[in-house]
Symmetry: C3
Subunit: 159 residues, 3 copies
């Protein structure tokens, strides 16, 4: 699979969809495929580092938004059957029974394996997050930079 490349937009901030995306990313790296993930909108919630959050330079709306949304990947809700967290707890129990790693493990695995993490510049600005609040190593790019690499990849997904 040398010389193949995969580009994913991670728009969703749902635990289950993020899990699918990161399982695909890890698998692709194990096949030696180049992987870029472009996090936009709710997808940015996967990249927040709870140890680096700040309210400095945030407007009132941005502060409210930062406070109301999940602080890190493991806090994301399910896309369905979340049932105020009951459904998610059940999924996590089922994952444990099967010795399946958690989302955070797949996220760290992807970073260690060399998946490139890109954050959407416009989404960051609208939501009021700064690059300093995100996980280390995340690069900020605009939609044209995303498109230039996506259009040249072998495979693109919108998740």
């Amino acid at each position: 699979m040398i010389d193949k490349s995969l580009n994913m937009v991670i728009f969703s901030g749902d635990y289950d969809k993020a899990l699918a995306a990161l399982i695909i990313a890890n698998g692709a790296r194990e096949l030696n495929v180049e992987v870029k993930m472009f996090f936009a909108f709710w997808g940015l919630l996967l990249l927040r580092d709870p140890g680096r959050m700040t309210d400095e330079d945030k407007s009132l709306y941005e502060k409210m938004f930062a406070a109301m949304t999940p602080k890190q990947a493991e806090e994301l809700p399910l896309s369905r059957m979340n049932m105020a967290g009951v459904g998610k707890s059940m999924l996590l129990e089922m994952m444990d029974e099967n010795d399946t790693p958690r989302l955070i493990d797949f996220l760290n695995g992807a970073r260690n394996k060399g998946v490139e993490f890109l954050a959407c510049k416009l989404s960051l600005e609208v939501m009021g997050f700064t690059q300093e609040e995100l996980l280390e190593g995340v690069k900020v790019v605009d939609v044209k930079e995303y498109l230039e690499s996506a259009l040249n990849a072998n495979m693109q997904l919108f998740i």
Copy 2:
């Protein structure tokens, strides 16, 4: 980027997902990439022209459906945190603070820049909408016409 092409299915009728799709479409046109957007199911709600709505030739269910669904792009709800519109108002305020244009502006931008707007024939028939009720310039095509161009594009997304 000459000779590159992008094909997107817009299945979603969510404000935030439509925004992402149209920001990508505008960016691609600025890179001189050919862009086709195929609107299906809830995605058709982006193409309704509030000045051209009619109940003529609609069955009872089709009338109810037309009345219960958003009349234009700006009325679409968020995919999450919509909270009966509170979350959406908050997002719009945050976009205003950042001088980010609204969905309708990106929609008009895409039309002006030459993005091709296609509506799914089967979805139109099931929902009871007619081509006359849609924005001007939208072409109606079936799934095979969509596939023929999508399979030959450099990049395809389902949003």
Copy 3:
């Protein structure tokens, strides 16, 4: 369209999204395009065979999960406007008025036309479903097998 191929991940367990995916799959086969569908997570709910369900070898959580989720494709809810089933009934009435086949018909059509149905190994294990509970002819593959064929396809979608 000879020698073209289409690869779709079906992550969603929503009636309307599954309908879109299967309409695309049927259309592609009619154009002689090779089609593979990789069902993961909620998408597995499309592949359950109500005549082959069993609680044998299931943990308590897996039994609960199997009982709480749709038993077959036609029972899936809508992704929006489901309104405890009212919205879905309305959509089905509108499909009937237009003589549009049901999801199950498009599912059977796809199988008869030679669409390859693949189930995600990890999702099956986490949810506690076995291959024996799925529709006949479904093959179980892991994420790397999915990637190997997706990366070589002409078009990939995540639905």
